[in-house]
């Protein structure tokens, strides 16, 4: 496998007396989907925020392309090719797809002394970048509010890729979506991977993760319970490793027991 693009080495993060992350190592290579799994409160959010430059680790180090790095800010992280697509996607629903695509980084065109927003370039680029991800827009000037959930994810991902992301951090991209829309997003993840981008896919849905993932890391109470390649672990083993696996079995037994005592 290639060199990891970004790497966390034995990272720990504390908030007062709370241990949010303890001795966690995590990395992603170009053209790979690395799934980060864990229940609520397992430390997924802290790990993402450490990777995206919101927090700096208390112990351990971050390496980008092998070089130890300290991120000064989220913008600094973005400049080094690591883009985070949060659940809110940073989209403005009433604005057009093309204007959202270039929001904050508007392409300008000079007309003599005045420079103005290059709407034609923005429309064409937004359209082309979206179709490269397999989504055909009806009209790049339609408001984002008219897009489906999957199309919005696509816009956010296509935008990050267009502006030079080498690693995409996707925070629960499928959690709010229906079955069909979720499969659209999973296809987007495969598309990004095919373009040589390293994807960190955060989810608590093992079924979604197992379809597209190459490696899986499980977090439990701030600690990593290990990283497994797809060949080393089955979907059921993964499910059982997740916090829910054992607890669901317990719950099932309890329910059968109480059903029996109810009959008696």
């Amino acid at each position: 496998m290639a060199e990891p693009y970004v790497e966390l080495k034995s990272v720990s993060k504390y908030f007062g007396s709370v241990v949010a992350l303890k001795d966690v190592s995590f990395d992603v290579c170009p053209g790979e989907v690395h799934c980060l799994l864990g229940d609520n409160g397992a430390g997924k959010s802290t790990l993402i925020k450490t990777l995206s430059g919101v927090y700096s680790p208390d112990e351990g180090e971050i390496r980008v392309q092998g070089k130890p790095t300290r991120f000064a800010s989220p913008a600094d992280t973005r400049d080094s090719g690591i883009a985070t697509v949060y659940q809110d996607l940073a989209l403005v629903p009433l604005m057009s797809v093309a204007r959202n695509f270039f929001l904050g980084r508007e392409p300008m065109r000079k007309f003599g002394p005045i420079s103005q927003f290059d709407a034609e370039f923005a429309n064409r680029t937004a359209y082309d970048e979206m179709s490269a991800m397999g989504i055909q827009l009806r009209d790049p000037e339609q408001p984002v509010g008219t897009l489906s959930g999957g199309e919005r994810q696509c816009l956010a991902i296509a935008r990050a890729v267009y502006f030079g992301a080498k690693v995409l951090i996707l925070d629960e991209p499928t959690s709010a979506l229906g079955v069909h829309q979720a499969s659209v997003v999973l296809k987007l993840i495969v598309q990004s991977k095919a373009r040589g981008i390293g994807v960190i896919f955060i989810s608590h849905n093992v079924h979604h993760a197992y379809v597209v993932g190459d490696r899986f890391t499980l977090l439990k109470r701030g600690r990593s319970t290990g990283t497994y390649a797809k060949g080393e672990i089955t979907r059921d083993q993964l499910l059982n490793l997740m916090a829910g696996g054992k607890e669901l079995v317990d719950l099932e037994q309890e329910l059968t027991k109480s059903a029996r005592s109810g009959q008696a």
Partner: protein, 365 residues
């Protein structure tokens, strides 16, 4: 069959449905309605003579000067209720130094624009820094500015009105920028062609176009360009539509909003400059309720109260409706007491219509 091959990129959305989702649509339709209504009821009264047209355009122009930047601010999701008081304050700032301290008019104009711009920046800073709703912050400035205007004027002049600006402004280099007429030659020529009626003494019924109308149109065009064609315009929509998303993408939301508060304050100063130089006096009560009239014009023009959507052209239509209705009621001889009832009802209807249009635009096409 090469001609049959269609690039799938060709937009299949019809021009009509595109037009139907424009924010200005309601205001444009309303303008037509109002014109038709008064053409029928007041067609013979001279409302649509050259003189009548200039009369209602002048009313519209003054309001429109305010409405264009107010529209931008409202699209960015903020209100400025202080513009009305700012007009009274700016009028006094022009008149007092000129009349009592002997400043040349151009200097007191520059001074006024500088002070008003500064107060606008303070309004903006207060909104951005405190995170309080701009409705509350500028409601405070509305009262503070009116009180300050009254206090200063009475303290310095002993009265609530300062007159005598006309005589001082006559030879001032900036006077013709804010008062007087333009295109006088064109009007005379049109009159000679018989397109504009003549008075009994043989002079054209109007001598030119009031310069405020030019300001109105120029400001509307400038604001429209800003909104639709500049980087700043993108930031305005984003700041009002989803400020958090905009911030995460590196849009300077705070700076955008402060700039817009400065713009509305400067528009109020411009309004005052036109008013003081045309009438020759300043009064502490000038501009009362103009903040609401501007908001009405903007809302009729299709801008959402919640921000993120709207247009400056729409605000121009809103101001035009305002002028036509006000003068139309006057010309038809209806008691002018009914004017506010009419405008209030018109605004509510416009809001209902606009929210329908917006929902249409947001529906999956």
């Amino acid at each position: 069959m090469v001609s049959e091959i269609r690039d799938e990129r060709v937009r299949s959305v019809s021009r009509l449905s595109r037009l139907l989702s424009r924010p200005e649509l309601g205001a444009a339709a309303g303008t037509v309605l109002v014109f038709v209504f008064f053409a029928i009821t007041a067609g013979s009264t001279g409302l649509f003579s050259a003189k009548g047209i200039v009369n209602f355009l002048e009313v519209s122009a003054q309001l429109g000067i305010l409405a264009a930047p107010v529209a931008l601010l409202m699209i960015a999701g903020e209100f400025d209720l202080s513009v009305g008081s700012m007009i009274g304050f700016a009028g006094i700032l022009i008149a007092i130094p000129a009349v009592f301290w002997g400043w040349p008019i151009w200097l007191s104009l520059l001074f006024t624009f500088a002070v008003c711009g500064g107060i606008g920046a303070l309004n903006g800073l207060a909104v951005v820094r405190t995170g309080l709703p701009s409705f509350i912050v500028t409601l405070g400035s509305l009262f503070m500015l009116r009180g300050l205007t009254l206090g200063l004027t009475r303290g310095i002049s002993g009265r609530t009105q300062v007159s005598g600006v006309h005589e001082l402004a006559q030879n001032d280099p900036l006077n013709s920028l804010f008062s007087g007429q333009v295109f006088t030659g064109l009007i005379a020529w049109l009159s000679d062609l018989g397109l504009i009626g003549k008075r009994a003494d043989g002079m054209p019924s109007i001598s030119g176009i009031p310069v405020s109308i030019v300001w109105w149109i120029a400001l509307t065009l400038a604001c429209t360009w800003l909104l639709t064609r500049s980087r700043f315009g993108n930031w305005i929509f984003a700041a009002g539509g989803e400020a958090n998303a905009a911030r995460n993408l590196g849009v300077p939301v705070a700076r955008t909003k402060i700039t817009l508060f400065v713009m509305t304050a400067l528009a109020a100063a411009l309004f005052a400059a036109v008013q003081v130089l045309v009438t020759g006096s300043a009064d502490t009560l000038r501009g009362t309720q103009k903040e609401f009239e501007a908001i009405i014009a903007v809302v009729i023009g299709g801008t959402l109260l919640t921000g993120g959507y709207g247009s400056a052209i729409g605000a121009m239509f809103g101001a035009l409706i305002f002028g036509v209705v006000q003068m139309g009621i006057f010309y038809t001889g209806i008691d002018t007491d009914w004017f506010k009832l009419f405008m209030g009802a018109m605004m509510v209807i416009a809001v209902l219509f606009n929210s329908y249009v917006r929902n249409r635009a947001m529906r999956s096409r």
